[in-house]
Subunit: 253 residues, 2 copies
């Protein structure tokens, strides 16, 4: 496992092992339901905590990794929001997802040995570093971890298929409604208000994700506002009629 030490360019001020170990204890992390297997016995839990090699702070606008960087680790978001993007040969950028605490980043790097896309912090963020060699090693010994890893990878594929559905066969207003409902659901899972939240991304980033131009996104927000479905004030959104948004999806072909 000597690979571990070559794996990450950790920020200089990363904590010494002793201090770190306490700080990152997964067993007491309030995100553990999101990123760890359930029903783990204490022994396995202790082994699993060894996976978390370090944490990385990433400032707003900076990247956790870039496309092409050589792949060594997965990351679990501890705090903050990320966007992931891919870049066309001709320079166009496509946002492939928005990720929040407890979610896993970097799975696109396993196959080719280098990350396929970029992961950029939308605000100051912190992420747990999971050296993938360790993850693979331990998941051979802890079936629950193996299973969990496979599930997370599979769920990412399912998520992607949902995005394809959105991009391939929904109208603009359906896309934005879906987006808002999805955000609401994920905030709810994390104990935040389902109806009242702060968008970390710009209109342009939302547009890129949804396959729309920023002006279209802005107009849709205004329209939803006029229809009393939501209140919008810059980045703050309050959902007034969640069933009104859902109705947009069911209706008109």
């Amino acid at each position: 496992m000597s690979a571990v030490y070559a794996i990450e360019n950790v920020t200089p001020k990363s904590h010494a092992p002793a201090a770190r170990k306490f700080e990152v204890a997964c067993s007491t992390c309030n995100l553990r339901e999101l990123c760890l297997p359930k029903d783990l016995d204490p022994v396995d839990m202790a082994r699993l905590e060894q996976i978390v090699y370090a944490r990385r702070k990433v400032r707003r606008g900076e990247a956790l990794f870039h496309a092409g960087d050589s792949f060594h680790s997965l990351y679990v978001i501890r705090s903050g929001f990320f966007k992931t993007t891919v870049l066309n040969p001709d320079g166009r950028e496509q946002v492939t997802g928005f990720y929040m605490p407890g979610e896993l980043l970097g799975m696109d790097g396993i196959g080719a040995g280098s990350y396929h896309g970029n992961a950029v912090a939308l605000e100051d963020c912190e992420a747990c570093v999971l050296p993938f060699a360790l993850v693979e090693h331990l998941s051979r010994e802890i079936p629950a971890l193996q299973r969990h890893l496979h599930c997370v990878l599979s769920r990412e594929i399912v998520r992607d298929h949902g995005v394809m559905m959105l991009l391939g066969s929904m109208r603009a207003e359906e896309r934005l409604a879906t987006f808002l409902l999805q955000l609401s659901r994920r905030f709810t899972n994390r104990g935040y208000s389902p109806s009242d939240f702060h968008l970390r991304m710009t209109r342009e980033e939302i547009g890129s994700f949804l396959g729309l131009k920023l002006e279209t996104v802005s107009r849709l927000f205004s329209r939803f506002h006029e229809d009393n479905l939501i209140e919008v004030n810059q980045k703050h959104v309050r959902i007034l009629k969640i069933d009104g948004l859902e109705a947009l999806l069911a209706s008109k072909h």
Copy 2:
């Protein structure tokens, strides 16, 4: 491993174990570079062949699995073409991919324990059945298999991101050009002509995949034909200027 026997509803005329074992020998399958780990020693290869529990024939138009079917197996295509689709609550269908021999189907089922989408044969097909419990079991003991599985899952995610790029930020003609180039590349990898092939899917299915209507797809085929980039005759396509198609991607905005 008693689970194995409950796993698949194999077609009645599936072969007896003895005959089957010879027939499906992975070590002599000409698709092995596509679906197996490289550099496997003979012992591991022999163990790995035990994974292939059976083969399933699927007739054109029939499904290898449906969305919601409980998940037990991955499938490797031995012959024929499949499309995968997801269905909206309101009934719209989105084609999420086209799959050809050597490619893996069913990865969307791992996370939830049931398949998320449908896999439908575009012609008479045959697929190898890989009971996932066996795959997980063996991949704990054969690191090369474990690695291979992770790579395949990751590559599927990368593929999906490519489709998002296509759907989210390309114009119609770029989408179709990308689609044709992609098909060409995959045929080449399988030893077929890069420029001369038979589309197994309808214009409507292509359209669904590319986020376009079938009429638009048809018009684009005609336009590419007029521009002497391709020849089209119903389902038969011949690419005349591969760099002409590539140029469509680099150009205008």
